[in-house]
């Protein structure tokens, strides 16, 4: 029994690793992707291209603009001279926002009538637009406060009293709210899912397609031996990739690994059970490799979208929220982010581990049950 399993493993490893291009795909590509994505993907909005339509041109407007530019959130890319140009810069995408300051801005301000500034936003990217809006209102609120303070101290010699409520927020676990810290572990989870689901979805159907399955069926190999022999090598490859990516994340991107790496591997092992189970199931129901590939792709897409990787689960309709409980990536993301950023361990993450173990064994049993040593 063990002898057969061992030989199955040796054979699978030889087959997977013999081809140099395959080795590059399995171990090189995930690293390169994490490297590129780690630099490129970020939801932090910085250096928003801002065009200014300043009709007042006074020290007051210059002061406000200096605050915008000084915040690092905005780059003033253009000064506009006419109304018509507003449309132009937004259409061409030259600027993502236009700040319009009307004539009499400074007068209104000093006269205490409340000066008006208008911010026009390109709303086609709703995410960026709302972030820009919140930056702009924070900047103008700061400006307001500065002016009030100045005025009070000058006119009445009084000091501005403390605000009734002052909300001081501080982000834990990711102090700088650096989205890379949040994304890189997520990308790791996704890459490992792609790798293991696609590899295992090809595994059995490939043997069927090249005709080796028929030859295997006439040997006394057991179903379990065959299934284990087919999945274990991919689990090992998945774990090696997780280790490589984790090293890259910690030593290259300086993402803190607050928790226990061994626990991370335990969680990864449970996660791989369900991705490999799903892949094997796809492999048993497909009759060609092409079919398996397409099915794997359509399986992965909702797994990514409904995992909380990008779109918060709390915003989804309730029915879909329940559905996401069946998504292994959802649970694994909680584990991997918890281990990386919060340093959590099994005492907090046990529900996720339990869910992964359940999903994983369920999918593997389903796949093994579908696999027969006879032809139809």
């Amino acid at each position: 029994m063990l002898e057969r399993l061992y030989r199955m493993l040796v054979k699978e490893f030889i087959q997977v690793l013999r081809n140099p291009r395959m080795r590059a795909v399995l171990f090189g590509m995930p690293l390169v992707q994490v490297l590129v994505i780690g630099y490129a993907v970020s939801t932090d909005v910085r250096h928003v291209a801002l065009a200014v339509y300043d009709l007042d041109r006074t020290p007051a407007t210059r002061d406000l603009l200096a605050r915008f530019e000084g915040s690092g959130c905005f780059d003033i890319v253009k000064r506009i001279g006419s109304e018509a140009e507003i449309q132009d810069v937004l259409d061409s995408g030259e600027a993502k926002a236009v700040l319009r300051l009307n004539r009499g801005f400074a007068e209104d301000l000093s006269g205490g009538r409340g000066a008006r500034a208008q911010l026009l936003l390109d709303g086609s990217d709703s995410n960026t637009a709302s972030v820009v809006m919140s930056y702009a209102s924070r900047l103008s609120a700061d400006y307001n406060r500065a002016i009030m303070e100045q005025r009070f101290s000058r006119t009445a010699g009084l000091r501005l009293e403390a605000e009734p409520i002052a909300l001081v927020s501080r982000a834990w676990f990711n102090t700088n709210l650096d989205s890379r810290n949040f994304f890189v572990p997520g990308v790791l989870a996704m890459l490992v899912a792609i790798l293991t689901v696609i590899l295992s979805s090809m595994s059995i159907v490939r043997e069927r397609e090249i005709g080796t399955m028929e030859q295997i069926m006439v040997t006394p190999i057991g179903r379990l031996e065959f299934i284990l022999g087919k999945t274990t090598p991919f689990a090992v490859i998945g774990l090696v990739d997780v280790a490589l990516i984790a090293l890259l994340a910690v030593f290259w991107f300086q993402i803190p690994l607050a928790g226990n790496p061994l626990f991370l591997f335990l969680g990864t092992g449970l996660y791989l059970m369900s991705t490999l189970g799903a892949g094997l199931f796809i492999s048993t129901v497909s009759s060609t490799q092409q079919q398996a590939m397409m099915t794997a792709f359509f399986f992965l897409l909702p797994v990514f979208m409904l995992s909380g990787f990008v779109y918060p689960i709390a915003n989804m309709p309730e029915a879909v929220q329940w559905l996401t409980l069946l998504n292994p990536l959802r649970h694994y993301l909680v584990i991997i982010r918890g281990v990386f950023l919060k340093g959590l361990g099994p005492s907090v993450l046990w529900p996720q581990m339990l869910a992964l173990a359940g999903l994983g064994s369920g999918m593997l049993i389903l796949a093994a049950g579908r696999f027969r040593k006879t032809m139809v």
Partner: protein
């Protein structure tokens, strides 16, 4: 002792009856050939006997074991070579053999000697480290045979083993089969080649899922009723068409000769000459010949082999 026995073995795929009520018995140490055109049900029979396909009805026994109830136990005792090359093209010759040796749990003691012997006997020793995918057609088949023999099976099932293999490699392959027969291995081989069928001890003629005849090669030839006349004449194609239009028996064209199956030699000779004379076709020769398997086939399966 019977090594393979079937009783009314039947397999349907939807409406298609791939194998219809097959009754067969193969003796130990025999080379039995299942002969028939493509689609006759040869592969279905092989798969039913090796336990990888379940029959719709009927039963089969291999080496005394039931093909459905004891399918897994049968697998230790048989070797099987599927019609398509079923080995891993990305493993080397020796890796493929080792893999199968482990799947069959061939004991470590004496294993290397056995593998070396198999390699030598199939002339694969110099190609040990070559990837199976890079072997020639004949070598691939010999590797398939070596893998099927690694666990010293009692019965060997070979599904069209020499399909697409050159004549020299085919002869080598049969030389190996005869050596195995000396070791009392029962060989159940299927083929669509009639010259190959003649190498078997006994053959079964399969056509559209039915066993048309089952006997020794001579026995099967003896089934042909009447005598076979070979006609040599001008424009043989036209002559064959004309002869077919008469009430003479089976007419088949072999190159520039026509084989006509007649119930009575003299009567037949006269009728043939009359037809040719009436059409002004000069006749160069008319003689009685020994029937070949192909003649039996053309008469038993008229619709398939006629041009």
């Amino acid at each position: 002792m019977e090594t393979v026995r079937t009783r009314a073995l039947t397999r349907r795929f939807g409406d298609l009856v791939a194998l219809d009520q097959l009754n067969l018995a193969v003796e130990e140490g025999e080379i039995f050939g299942l002969v028939g055109p493509d689609g006759a049900g040869k592969t279905t029979t092989m798969r039913l006997l090796t336990g990888i396909l379940e029959p719709s009805s009927g039963e089969a026994w291999v080496d005394g074991l039931h093909a459905v109830r004891e399918a897994e136990a049968i697998k230790d005792r048989i070797g099987y070579m599927s019609q398509r090359f079923g080995l891993y093209p990305d493993l080397t010759v020796i890796e493929n053999i080792d893999f199968y040796a482990d799947l069959y749990e061939v004991p470590k003691a004496g294993r290397n000697e056995r593998i070396e012997r198999l390699l030598a006997f199939s002339n694969l020793t110099p190609f040990k480290r070559r990837l199976a995918g890079n072997l020639s057609g004949g070598m691939k088949q010999k590797l398939g045979l070596a893998c099927a023999l690694v666990h010293t099976p009692r019965v060997l099932f070979l599904d069209e083993p020499t399909n697409g293999v050159d004549p020299v490699s085919r002869r080598d392959f049969w030389r190996i089969l005869y050596q195995l027969q000396q070791e009392r291995v029962t060989i159940f081989v299927s083929t669509a080649y009639l010259d190959e069928a003649e190498r078997c001890n006994r053959i079964g003629l399969l056509h559209r899922g039915r066993l048309m005849a089952c006997d020794t090669v001579d026995g099967v030839k003896g089934l042909l009723q009447g005598a076979l006349l070979e006609v040599r004449c001008d424009s043989p194609r036209r002559a064959a068409i004309l002869l077919r239009a008469t009430d003479l028996g089976g007419v088949a064209l072999f190159g520039d000769r026509i084989h006509v199956l007649v119930p009575d030699i003299d009567q037949g000779r006269l009728s043939i000459e009359a037809v040719l004379r009436a059409e002004g076709i000069p006749c160069h020769g008319l003689q009685v010949i020994e029937p070949s398997l192909e003649d039996v086939f053309t008469s038993a399966i008229p619709a398939v082999t006629h041009v």
